[in-house]
């Protein structure tokens, strides 16, 4: 297993492997959902097959044997589907999903250097086997093993069975490697059953005469040891995909060793995976004994050569050139026997190595990679550096302005141009971190499928805008809230088929998950066509649980949003899905911690719509700089509705010095005296002389922040206060202004709940402004 050793020379490659696994699993999940929906093409099956094949290949390179053995079986099942020998059915899709789970978990085990129980994944393997057992499979009869004069004395009676999948890369022949030689050597080891796969062979007119198109599966029964088998392929390991499967007497696979060359075509990722994912399954995958394999692989005889062959920075035993030389030497005898039966067959002398200088020889240019994999930390460093650059630029700009320099001055115009370039630079650097929400959305079909099955509900999930991009950090934090909201919709929102039919709705419910960019933010909607929120029930429960006062006068929207209150649950039965009453509160907190907002809009009997808005990035923010006393603060622009200076008639004092309200367009809005909350001497306290900035909280409440003056709008680079100082109430984070001063960014929601020190205060943002206004 993976050693927890920091000196592991392959640690870097393993990291890459697991990253690629994660991407492959995401793709697989998407394609599996397509399979289930019935909206798929043959390419969908190929894509799933390729993903499993790639995982198997990479896992083999690192000797993750359980993973290799399971993925091999999974791959086999998929190949049967690709070949049309298995038809899609609900049971089959179920098996694919179960296998996907096991595969996913095995990757997790490998990543954490953990060893799963022997029984882990057994049910999935049995399910796979049940399908394979139904498929007619041609198996080669085990022949008698010829007695070998070279067999070792210790192991004289021990017959080993190896299944060798050998798939030459197209350039293998040009490197003077000849399969006939390999086969001859194999035959010298024992009895060989040969199956050739000609599926890659193109039409004659399309053939490159010196390219390799055949691949083979050899069933070898030998008294020789595994090292002897490896030796046969020693000089072609860079020129082929090679899988050597050890099979025991009962036909069970005991070890699978996958070796991928880093030669031509292996330019995807870091060469850990198969370089030719479009390559059809090798014949053995269609001819492996049914019911033969168990996930009991233990050790691989010699994994080192595989790793060496697959790791681009680790030298293989010999370079391709050395291989050429070796082959020339080994074939110098001229005509060679074609098989072990002593035929006088001859093969061409690899002295034809000169042909290696052909148009596709080793010196030929390889395709350029379209993308590179970069450590996120490096990108973050770049983002921070650009942030600093923005700050410095703002400082210089301010100095230029303060100097009274004419706007036509070269320095002044140069500063303007530099501002534009830096802004572009910042946007492009931020774009590096942007990723499509697909990685999160792709998990949802599975959740819908599993949950709807548990609840015996019929649901169709539609996803829209999955290529909408958002910052990587936001994506990582988005999965849990989305999962919970989807579960909530399934559990509480959608009715059972019988209830839907009774309500005159289609039996199958609908959930739509969509994402789009709107106004510099990403907006995610989850819409269901279920029963909607039972407001009467929500209101009653909220009162019973003390979430709201007994006499609270709430609007429909306010009642709907009670589901986000801590400890609130309307489920008649607490289920293991979403009815624990903590979820939606956590959802809102998670979204808020990302600088986002979540709200719910429901129409009884018609459905519910959850609306999430999130910033595209957590690194920069468009803010309004405001002044209070001698201090400056940033208020996020997206929270601001408008700014007013009320007349004396619009302002009312609350009884007991609890605060002030401002009456605007028929509504009383609470004024938050920021200066007093922060205990700033000299802050204006009279709203008619100061400014009231109307802001909207996450819960949709409108508040008036009392500030002295506005200093203008500016994009600011967010700096964590916790990291650089400590958490401060009412403050979300900090930034650095052009003059070099630290400026605090207000946390509107927290401010709404804070009290003026020493006052009675209303404290909570309060349910029921009508009640508050009445006082």
């Amino acid at each position: 297993m993976l050693p927890a050793d920091h000196d592991d020379p392959f640690a870097q490659f393993k990291t890459t492997f697991f990253e690629e696994c994660s991407e492959l699993l995401t793709d697989m999940e998407t394609h599996l959902a397509d399979l289930e929906s019935g909206e798929f093409e043959n390419e969908t099956l190929h894509a799933i097959f390729r993903a499993v094949h790639s995982i198997k290949a990479g896992a083999g390179a690192f000797s993750f044997n359980r993973l290799v053995a399971f993925s091999h079986k999974f791959e086999y099942l998929l190949d049967e589907m690709r070949e049309g020998r298995l038809q899609i059915s609900e049971k089959l899709v179920e098996t694919l999903f179960r296998s996907f789970d096991v595969l996913s978990d095995l990757i997790g085990f490998a990543q954490n250097a953990e060893v799963p129980d022997d029984s882990f994944g057994e049910d999935a393997l049995e399910a796979i086997q049940s399908f394979l057992s139904d498929t007619p499979i041609v198996t080669a009869a085990k022949p008698e093993v010829k007695e070998s004069s070279n067999s070792s004395a210790d192991d004289e009676d021990q017959v080993h069975h190896y299944r060798i999948e050998f798939s030459p890369h197209e350039a293998m022949y040009r490197h003077a490697n000849e399969p006939l030689l390999i086969i001859r050597e194999l035959k010298e080891l024992g009895e060989v059953n040969i199956k050739v796969d000609m599926s890659r062979l193109p039409a004659l007119s399309a053939m490159e005469p010196e390219d390799a198109y055949f691949s083979w599966v050899f069933e070898l029964w030998t008294t020789f040891e595994r090292d002897d088998v490896d030796e046969v392929f020693e000089f072609v390991v860079d020129d082929c995909d090679l899988t050597i499967i050890t099979v025991d007497d009962s036909g069970h696979v005991t070890a699978v060793d996958v070796s991928l060359a880093d030669g031509d075509g292996a330019d995807e990722g870091f060469g850990l995976f198969a370089d030719d994912p479009l390559e059809p399954a090798t014949p053995s995958e269609a001819s492996a004994p049914a019911g033969a394999e168990e996930d009991t692989a233990e050790t691989i005889a010699d994994a080192t050569p595989s790793v060496a062959a697959t790791s681009p920075q680790v030298s293989p035993p010999t370079s391709p050139d050395e291989s050429d030389t070796k082959d020339v030497d080994s074939s110098g005898e001229g005509a060679l026997a074609g098989d072990g039966a002593g035929g006088d067959g001859a093969i061409d002398p690899p002295a034809a190595a000169g042909a290696a200088a052909g148009p596709k020889g080793p010196g030929a240019p390889t395709p350029k990679a379209a993308s590179i994999r970069v450590d996120v930390d490096r990108v973050d460093i770049l983002v921070n550096m650009v942030g600093e650059l923005v700050i410095t630029q703002a400082m210089l700009l301010q100095e230029v302005e303060n100097s009274g320099m004419a706007s036509t001055d070269r320095i002044s115009t140069g500063m303007g141009e530099m501002s534009t370039h830096i802004r572009d630079l910042q946007e492009n650097v931020m774009a590096i971190r942007m990723q499509p929400v697909k990685s999160v959305f792709s998990r949802m079909p599975r959740i819908v499928r599993d949950v709807s099955k548990k609840l015996a509900k019929k649901v169709k999930l539609t996803t829209i805008g999955e290529n909408t991009e958002v910052d990587k950090t936001v994506i990582e934090e988005l999965a849990d809230p989305l999962t919970h909201m989807i579960r909530n919709s399934l559990d509480h929102g959608l009715e059972t088929p019988a209830e839907r039919l009774a309500a005159g709705k289609p039996e199958e419910g609908s959930i739509t998950l969509s994402a789009e960019h709107r106004g510099g933010r990403i907006v995610i909607e989850i819409i269901d066509d279920g029963r909607g929120i039972n407001r009467e029930k929500v209101y009653r429960l909220a009162q019973e649980k003390g979430v709201i006062p007994k006499d609270a006068d709430l609007s429909d929207e306010e009642i709907d949003n009670l589901i986000f209150a801590p400890g609130f649950s309307t489920a008649d039965e607490v289920t293991d899905l979403s009815g624990r009453g903590v979820g939606m509160d956590v959802v809102r907190r998670n979204i808020q911690s990302l600088g986002g907002r979540v709200s719910v809009h429901s129409t009884p009997g018609k459905g519910t719509r959850f609306l999430l808005t999130l910033p595209l990035t957590l690194a920069v923010l468009d803010g309004m700089i405001v002044g209070i006393a001698t201090q400056r603060y940033v208020i996020p622009i997206n929270s601001i509705l408008e700014t007013v200076r009320p007349t004396p008639e619009q302002v009312d004092e609350l009884v007991g010095g609890a605060g002030m309200v401002v009456f605007i367009r028929g509504e009383y809005i609470r004024i938050v005296e920021v200066g007093r909350i922060f205990e700033l001497d000299g802050a204006l306290t009279d709203p008619t002389k100061a400014l009231v900035i109307l802001v909207e909280t996450e819960g949709g409440k409108v508040l008036g922040l009392l500030v002295d003056e506005l200093h203008g709008q500016q994009q600011v680079v967010i700096k964590s206060l916790e990291t650089n100082f400590k958490q401060v109430d009412g403050i979300a984070s900090a930034t650095i202004l052009g003059n070099g001063n630290v400026c605090l960014i207000m946390d509107i929601d927290q401010l709404a709940k804070m009290q003026i020190p020493g006052s009675l205060g209303l404290g909570q943002e309060g349910y029921g402004r009508r009640r508050l206004a009445a006082e």
């Binding site: 004659l204 010196e210 034809a352």
Partner: protein
Amino acid sequence: MAEKLAAAQLEYILPQELDLLAAEGLKFKLLDMVHHEGDLTLDGREVERVSTPCIEIMVAAESAFYESGRKLRIFEPSNTLSDAFKSLGLVAEIEKWSVS
């Protein structure tokens, strides 16, 4: 498209050396034959050295003939040629194509 020539039977004597360097020439020779009319008989008696690429070309050529409703046969393949086919797992093919 090459001009099709009328011919009831096509014949080609396979060279002694069917090594990698011979592959390109073999391909174009057989491709040319495909563009003629009639079945093709390859004379395999003289073959002394064989390579996998040449066998792949012969297999592709046989497919081309088969697809056009014609036949490709190998007349008295030498042991070398026959064994190479068999070693590569093409036992059925060489047995089917062989004529004497």
